[in-house]
């Protein structure tokens, strides 16, 4: 069985109706520890550099705090963070030279377990896609974001997402097949 990587627990969002949550340091730390790891995974798979991913991660949280955004609940804050992170990635790719868009084939900082199916070669397959395709696929199939949320994060029209996602998926499937990757599923 393949479990989803990110499943954020909901927290109590407000103490009084209509009253905004005050983001104190403890609340921030709490949010950070719940969301930072999957957000870093998204950034890392999108940009391919752990140091850069960590820089962008910190910048995303800093921007969220500076904006004064409090959000209604964890999902709302998570979506906002992913939107900021996506904007930061877009800025990075605009500034960076085209060749630096490539995601490294293997991330040496991770431990590779050869026994586990569909591992790091996914990174190589993803690196062959455009940054926007990577982000779209990750948001859709790892974060479980709706088409509307993806459109908001990527600055696209909701109506376009379905077909764009379909094409991006085809491209990734082609890359995965080229690497002779096959899903190993437990059918119950």
């Amino acid at each position: 069985m393949i479990s989803m990587a990110l499943s954020l627990p909901r927290t109590q969002a407000t103490d009084l109706p209509g009253r905004a949550v005050t983001m104190d340091e403890a609340a921030f730390n709490n949010l950070y520890h719940r969301t930072a790891r999957p957000l870093r995974a998204y950034l890392l798979r999108s940009c391919g550099d752990l140091t850069l991913a960590d820089d962008l991660l910190q910048e995303a949280y800093l921007r969220m705090l500076r904006s004064g955004f409090e959000g209604e609940d964890d999902d709302h804050r998570k979506n906002y963070l992913y939107r900021i992170a996506t904007n930061l990635l877009r800025d990075h790719f605009r500034r960076a030279k085209p060749e630096s868009n490539q995601v490294p084939e293997r991330d040496d900082s991770t431990g590779h377990d050869e026994a586990v199916h569909l591992r790091s070669d996914v990174g190589g397959a993803m690196s062959e896609l455009a940054p926007r395709d990577r982000q779209m696929l990750w948001l859709a199939y790892v974060e479980g974001a709706s088409h509307q949320e993806i459109a908001k994060a990527l600055g696209l029209r909701t109506a376009s997402i379905r077909s764009m996602l379909f094409r991006a998926r085809q491209r990734l499937a082609k890359q995965l097949q080229a690497r002779d990757l096959r899903p190993q599923l437990e059918v119950s």
Binding site: Y61, T110, R182, P183, L185
Partner: protein, 161 residues
């Protein structure tokens, strides 16, 4: 697998089944016969495995404390600018008031000042000089000029900063 697949109405159900591992026999049969769903299965499974691996990276996350501290500093800086903006507006108001008073009373003041200065002419003896210089009107005019000048100086200094 070729790239001739078409969107399929079962996509959402298939994606959910890949995530949960809960395949009904019908869905499983459908997946085996549908190019789109087979592709979708491959992609979702690959990404889920990849996410699992990336989440398990042992490199510790950046410390959140400096992020919080930087945000607090930025917040204080914003507060400072907000506070000094109010002071700047008070200074501007002071300059405007001084200027307004000057314009409103300019003709009359000119006569009084002229008179005061004529009293300060060489004909005044040295013992009378402090009394003439301490004339209330002259003190008022000089005070307004000095305070107005100071307010103006403060204002321009604040804008330069």
């Amino acid at each position: 697998m070729s790239s001739h697949s078409q969107p399929c109405p079962y996509e959402e159900a298939v994606a959910a089944a890949v995530r949960s591992g809960d395949w009904s026999p019908e869905l499983s049969t459908h997946r085996d016969g549908c190019l789109t769903c087979a592709e979708l299965t491959l992609v979702v499974a690959a990404l889920a495995a990849d996410a699992e691996e990336l989440n398990a990276i042992e490199t510790p996350l950046p410390d959140p404390a400096p992020i919080w501290l930087r945000a607090r500093l930025a917040s204080r800086e914003r507060d400072y600018h907000r506070a000094t903006r109010a002071i700047t507006w008070v200074q501007r108001a002071a300059v405007a008031v001084v200027f307004g008073i000057g314009v409103a009373f300019a003709p009359g003041l000119w006569e009084f000042v002229g008179g005061a200065f004529s009293n300060l002419s060489g004909s005044i003896s040295a013992p009378d000089l402090p009394r003439a210089a301490g004339s209330p009107l002259l003190v008022l005019v000089v005070s307004i000029l000095v305070l107005g000048g100071l307010a103006l100086w403060e204002l321009t200094a604040a804008q330069e900063n």
